[in-house]
Amino acid sequence: MNAKLSFLLSAPFLLTAGIAQAQDFPTKNIQIIVPYSAGGGGDTVARIVADRLGEELGQQINVVNREGAGGEIGIDEIARSDADGYTLGVFGYPDNFVLEHTRDTSFTFDSLDYLAAFDDMPMGVFASPNSQHSTLEELVSYGQENPAEMIIGESGALGLLHALAFAERSDMQITPIRYSGGGELMNALLGNHIDLASTSSMSHDPIVDSNGTPIGFAAEERMEMFPDVPTFKEQGLDLVMGVSRVLVAPEGLPDDVREALVTALNEISTDEAMIANFENAKIPYRYLDDSAVNKMLEQSNSVLMPVIENNLDKINGN
């Protein structure tokens, strides 16, 4: 409704505004909506990028946390806001895709314009400190003999999907249990209240420090940061799934605004100080520009879709 009203009020000026914008976007502060609470991985990425991007564009960029309903509230707000380049969003793909296909959301994949991706963080499975299993093989053979006995904790839209795909591909039944956040999940794992945790590689250090065991990462190849942790692939399990923090705008940006943003993003993508911040935060940096990110997302969507469809009743019913 706001958008409509502001459109009506500004309609007479739109023509001139369009021309004026070409030279001087941005002319005021920009806000980046993050659909999670402050302090998590997505929030960290947003803050690192906002800092540097703001310098590049010569305007302050404010990070606004808009959490709720597993990211749905914030993503919905990004999709609904005016496509003028002054409201952007940062979140972990594929949260939007999973939400869209498991719930009745008002946004779709195409409601957003994907401008860049900054990292590539695989999901992984970790075993609790007391667990008798330290390899995938042991774990799977136990799981197949004792269906549904092993308990895997998960949090977030992708956490559950990853846990379900992990069980499905390795032909065993495990019982997923939901936690509201990464901290709570780690606490349950380290206290041996659950057997396994399905979470991203970012949790590696605290879990290993307290004697938990990484079983594997759902990555194409071993991560530079954690060369000792095997991938599922090399252990014979075909599962690649990860989070990628993307910077988006609502669909329908004016061409010149989009151009200005994309140029600025490409410009900062090689900034060493920014990359160092990513490394410090244990976030594996991988920059994709606007055309590369769309290619990556399309491919990833086609991989995820069958997994979601196969597990839809489990996602909704349990």
Binding site: M1, N2, L5, S6, Q31, N62, V64, G317, N318
Partner: protein, 162 residues
């Protein structure tokens, strides 16, 4: 007491309403709300009983008068100190949605300040009061703008205009 009777009835009816809402939910989701709503319904019934029992007790003439007074006072409070300011806040909320936080804030300060003065004494509503009211509304709004938007950079709820 009448208020307890009404409270009991409202609790009972709303727990039935929400119970019906929760009937289609998957079993594991419905368990906890059903449990709570059963509890609410029981509390509602007990409140009704308690109120009815009290009504049946014989009350002296004096008690009746004082009770009537208390009821009149309660009604007075409900209308003037709950519904009117609540309505003003809801109007401010509407303004907040349409024109943004700061105009809504000025409106709210202005109306509440004037209403407060009116409630103390209707004769207070003279010219100098209106000026004070406007001045105060502008001052508070400006102060909030300085602190929240300029100094702290907190996002304010924005409407179509601001």
């Amino acid at each position: 007491m009448l208020s307890n009777l009404i409270l009991g009835v409202v609790i009972l009816l709303s727990s039935i309403f929400f119970y019906l809402q929760a009937i289609d939910l998957p079993e594991r989701s419905a368990l906890f709300p059903h449990f709570i709503l059963w509890g609410m319904a029981i509390v509602g019934v007990l409140l009704i009983f308690q109120a009815l029992l009290e009504v049946r007790k014989k009350v002296s003439q004096e008690g009746l008068v004082s009770r009537r007074e208390a009821r009149a006072q309660l009604n007075d409070i409900l209308i003037f100190q709950v519904l009117v300011p609540g309505g003003l806040l809801l109007m401010a909320y509407g303004l907040l949605l349409s024109v943004g936080f700061y105009p809504a804030s000025a409106f709210l300060v202005f109306t509440i300040y004037s209403y407060h003065a009116y409630r103390i004494d209707a004769a207070n509503l003279n010219k100098s009061m209106w000026f004070r009211s406007i001045g105060f509304a502008i001052a508070v709004t400006l102060f909030m703008y300085l602190i929240f938007t300029l100094l702290l950079g907190l996002p304010a709820p924005s409407g179509a205009l601001f």
